[in-house]
Symmetry: none
Subunit: 402 residues, 2 copies
């Protein structure tokens, strides 16, 4: 993969590309020799599509590496997931549709409980309700007045989780987690890990102290702990890199946030796959590229629920008909990683992929499954190649060299 | 691929390697589920060879990237096609068997028509005959006297196309196209893009003005426009890199030119595949490596003529018998890229390959086709790996490390 070539060779065209992303779609059998969730699911439409497509197996990062959602999606979008990284704080802010600016430093936060000796006794403050979280955030905000030219944003995520964003000059992400990730020990200090982080360190310390003052009388949520300090930078956009006018449709905020980082337009929050498809239909005329994110194949895998994941994939298969009805020039179906219910976690396994276009050069793959895609014409390749392949199939990459 | 390792490990041997290059051999079905040109062709000899060979699919550059003939052949010859590039002007000069020297700057030129206001009204001057082109070139040459120690070579390519070569000290390729690639606008100035291109800029300006003087009375071809200024540099030769005494046999000048760039000896121009094979037989005792270039599988694809491409491949298959009769130690059959008649263009699709040697480790591939080669033992890999594999199979690479 040569990102500089793709940048140089991308051209405008009248074609449309849809990425139908079944999050965590790859799986594992729960018994030796048994089917995976995908193999057990009812997938007549995906199978029919696979038959006239080129298929294969994609490694999101490289063999053996289990990707988080950030690297998985960056690879999917054609950005080298090792060269292009996003910190957790940034991902969390993106995940609540917070409009980050370059230079912002963000961290994930938890409401936590400390006892009278100052040691953490509950890292999640008994998992607050969202309402309680919002109420506490409202209380803290007024005391977080600007300091040294820096503004503070504290935002509810859900339950015990918040995001802290610092916006101003001279900030740094070189701050360690203050969340000790253990009970019976005090929270850690936000000391500067490098010289240039002195100012950020002071500011974060101030936030923690002021919040502690506000929360002093709370029975459970009497402290804020942070992790994943990260600074926001802009990535080259889909428009700049690929000359694509692109739209992301995703029920979960994190995926909207990831798409926003590469400059996609974002469809307003919707809840169900049905609503996502309606959004796709509504906006189909207005964009060249559509990122349609389906979450349920991942969350059911993380729950370790084989049957629920199988059913989630069957539902995604049924929904495919509405996508096919739009007759996209290029249709890609894949995942950003595998999430086998057997492991209840993201995994390192490659992800099966279908790439359809009239010029895709179909292989002999007859069904969409992990086993069948091994014999696909794409072979096994890094996922970062998928985007150039989609562009080529859409007639959106010119020839390299004379 | 580790070019430095191949360089270090290559040794002399008594073995012979033939690369039988079916230009643009990879194709596509013209109807869903139908055969490709290669699958439709009659290929009993290639199929029999595939059966005792190792097969696979090669990406000339990387997935999704459509290569020009330059990158396609460089990858084939084992040179990284992104690290080793050739400008258009150099390729064009190579394509007419012009013997370039290191430091030469070459550009492609067109006879064009400008109107009395100096704007381009025909970028091809009505596509001259080759005779008219040669006649005009003969007229211009005498006025292109050496300037500032630099000599000028103006050469007919065909129709409206010429090559300009500047030879001397202190030249630079940092000159923009003067061809505006549009009508109704004046030709562009050959201004220096960098400080060191001042001299070249002056010289090219002089060429354009002098040619304009000579062409003033021509009804159509009254101006010369240039593009693709490029400076010639030597690549490490086959002899240096691989310790191979190599011969290129090609009916088309561009492929002789590409082979010349990597230091191959060049068999004098021949016309037909039959004559190419006679050349191979004639010189077989004198060389270690033979690059035998067959053009018709590409030109028929570019014409969009499925049946003609199918027949061209059938003819290449019949010709294989004469190659096999020489009993080469290593025989490679592949293309430099795909040229599906469905697209009428070079394409990004990987190219099927056969690699035969007594030690090749044959796989289960039974026929030479795009679909069958997907399951080959070489898998899908970058084409640049082919040359080291050929050398290894020829017993021409020693062990790496103790």
């Amino acid at each position: 993969m040569h990102p500089e070539l793709v940048d140089e060779l991308a051209i405008e065209a009248e074609t449309k590309i849809i990425f139908y992303l079944l999050d965590g779609v790859g799986g594992l059998p729960i018994e030796e020799g048994g089917p995976t969730e995908l193999e057990a699911a009812s997938t007549p439409n995906l199978d029919a599509l696979a038959k006239k497509s080129i298929c294969g197996m994609l490694d999101p990062v490289s063999p053996g590496i289990t990707p988080g959602s950030g690297p998985g999606h960056f690879a999917l979008f054609g950005y080298d997931p090792v060269e292009n990284t996003i910190g957790r704080g940034i991902l969390e802010a993106a995940g609540i549709d917070f409009a980050l600016k370059p230079g912002d430093v963000a961290a994930r936060g938890n409401f936590a409980t400390i006892d009278k000796n100052g040691v953490v006794i509950d890292r999640r403050a008994g998992r607050l309700s969202n309402e309680k979280n919002r109420e506490l955030v409202e209380k803290i905000r007024p005391v977080l007045t600007p300091q040294e030219g820096v503004k503070f944003h504290l935002e509810t995520v859900k339950e015990h989780r918040v995001v802290l964003v610092l916006r101003g000059e001279g900030l740094s992400e070189a701050i360690p987690d203050t969340d000790p990730q253990a009970l019976g020990v005090p929270p850690l200090e936000p000391r500067p890990l490098r010289e240039e982080a002195q100012k950020t360190s002071r500011l974060v310390k101030g936030v923690i102290e002021k919040a502690r003052g506000v929360l002093a009388q709370e029975p459970k949520a009497n402290f804020l702990i942070f992790r994943g300090f990260a600074q926001h930078k802009l990535f080259k956009s889909f428009r700049e890199l690929y000359k694509l006018k692109s739209l992301a449709i995703a029920a979960y905020p994190m995926y909207r946030g990831l798409a926003r980082m590469v400059g996609m337009d974002i469809y307003p929050p919707v809840e169900t796959l049905d609503e996502e498809l309606s959004a796709l239909e509504e906006k189909y005329a207005d964009y060249d590229f559509f990122f349609l994110h389906y979450k349920k194949s991942d969350s059911t895998g993380e729950d370790g629920n084989f049957v629920a994941k199988q059913e989630a994939i069957s539902a995604a298969d049924a929904a495919l008909l509405r996508i096919l009805a739009l007759k996209p020039d290029v249709l890609v179906v894949t995942g950003d990683h595998s999430t086998p219910s057997f492991l209840k976690l993201h995994s390192w396994h490659p992800v099966p992929v279908i790439l359809y276009s009239k010029a895709c050069r179909a292989d002999g793959v007859e069904v969409f499954s992990e086993r069948a895609c091994v014999s696909g014409g794409l072979g096994r390749m890094p996922m970062v190649n998928l985007m150039p392949l989609a562009l080529a199939n859409a007639g959106r990459l010119t020839k390299y060299g004379a």
